[in-house]
Amino acid sequence: MKLLRRLAALLLVSLLLVPLALLAGSVGPADVASALADERALRALGVSLRTALASLLLILVLGTPLALWLSRATGRTARVVEACVDLPVLLPPAVAGVALLSAFGARGPWVALFGSDASLAFTSAAVILAQVFVGSPFYVRSATEAFRTVDAESLLVARSLGAGPWRAFREVGLPATAPALAAGATLSLARALGEFGATLIFAGSLMGRTQTLPLAIYAALEDDLGLAVALSLLLTLTALALLACVRLLVRSA
């Protein structure tokens, strides 16, 4: 029994680690350097960084008030909204792409309201919307949980000492929840950076405009497998670097 258990664990761990090790092993620094010299890689990296950071900003700005409300509200509406916020985690990204296209594409209500020039399909905004769609639940969920743990009394004390609601949140609530917020933001950023299916469907793939690193990997599979492998490593390094930045920022804050 013990042996079987260990074997099962070993199998799963190898499935997780061996392909990544092979990926890292099959490309040398020289390959990554030559991939970086490729125009496609540089422009995809630019698109990825721009859109993922914009998505993260949107998620923080829109997600924090939502999480605050979800953590304080007790009504049925709040529970329903909380369940809905989690929905994108369960949905396949392809479904998200089709849904976004129906909402903001040529046949959607957005275009009906604002005219065909306002269609968001194939724009940078489409890339960002897709990333916010799939990425935001991670931040909102962990921020909601974190805000729930903040002692309501200490916030009240802060306010009774004359602090406004925002200052009480900033000086009492935020420090206590920072690690959880950072963890949530990190997950959201990673998910945004890796977004593929919804972006491909909703934003299309055009070098320098909507082609993010994951889309560039997919495109490179067609004609330059070496580039695809190097790009994969580049995306891994980019994700690690961004995640390190988020952690550092939070620690210093």
């Binding site: 099959s26 065909s116 020039d117 194939f122 299309g204 055009l206 497998l225």
Partner: protein, 262 residues
């Protein structure tokens, strides 16, 4: 330096062996049974209408099918939409009995409600979709645009390219973007435009025109060679030719001598 190069080649080959296999998705690798044919997406109706019920088709961009054959995917025959990808496979010894069997004109299609009526108005299109640089449709399209640019000036080609919003991986995805209304103009194969009321054909000046030639070939490592040969021959049957003609294909105009000894 040489050692580094060979190391890279090996690692690439290793990647080649599993990446396309992963991309094959539902294709099983049962050694016996049904014939499996990989075909350019624009051949979907032409092939699905064939009587051979004993055949499984997988439709994709020709460049994807080429990668699958290179990666050892369990295909018995392929039908690709250009000579370049077919020749690459033939030169690598991966396919044999290469033969051109049909052609299709590359046409400019716009949404029926588009104000565009002439080819030289193409830079006015709001959103244009192209095929990628690897997919045959994308290659034919770029040749048309190159000719138009060298004739009308580079501003024409640049004007078109600034209106391009996405590059799609096969001819059917290009058409889908046009049918959904998310794009205004795209280059398509003539059969893909036939009987599509939301779309309208804009004539391409004959000096720029391109015609796609479809090639079929047997995969050398295929498990069902006799069946594959029978399938390839069935493409020449009068009823198959008539079916393709009805769909908007036409018969190949020129013979092609297979390169190399059989």
């Amino acid at each position: 330096h040489a050692a580094f190069d060979s190391g890279r080649t090996v690692s690439r080959r290793r990647m080649l062996s599993f990446l396309p296999a992963a991309a094959m998705g539902g294709l099983g690798c049962s050694p016996s049974g049904r014939l499996t044919v990989g075909a350019a997406s624009s051949l979907t109706e032409a092939f699905l209408a064939m009587d051979g019920t004993e055949t499984d088709y997988t439709f994709a961009g020709s460049q994807v099918l080429r990668r699958q054959v290179e990666g050892g995917a369990p295909l018995d025959a392929v039908a690709l939409a250009d000579e370049a990808h077919t020749r690459e496979l033939e030169d690598a010894g991966l396919v044999q009995d290469v033969r051109a069997f049909a052609q299709a004109a590359v046409v400019l299609a716009v949404r029926a409600d588009s104000p565009i009526t002439r080819f030289d108005e193409l830079p006015n299109a709001n959103r244009i979709i192209l095929g990628t640089r690897s997919v045959p449709l994308g290659r034919y399209t770029r040749r048309i645009l190159e000719r138009a640019s060298s004739d009308r000036g580079a501003a024409f080609g640049d004007g078109v390219m600034t209106r391009v919003v996405s590059e799609e991986m096969n001819a059917r995805l290009v058409r889908a973007r046009l049918l959904s209304g998310d794009a205004e103009a795209a280059f398509l194969y003539a059969p893909d435009l036939a009987q599509m009321p939301p779309l309208r054909r804009v004539p391409i000046p004959s000096a720029y025109a391109e015609t796609a030639t479809y090639f079929c070939a047997l995969v050398s490592a295929g498990m069902r060679q006799a069946q594959a040969l029978r399938w390839q021959r069935s493409l020449d049957l009068p009823e198959q030719r008539a079916r393709r003609t009805a769909l908007g294909f036409h018969d190949e105009q020129r013979g092609r001598a297979a390169a190399g000894p059989a």
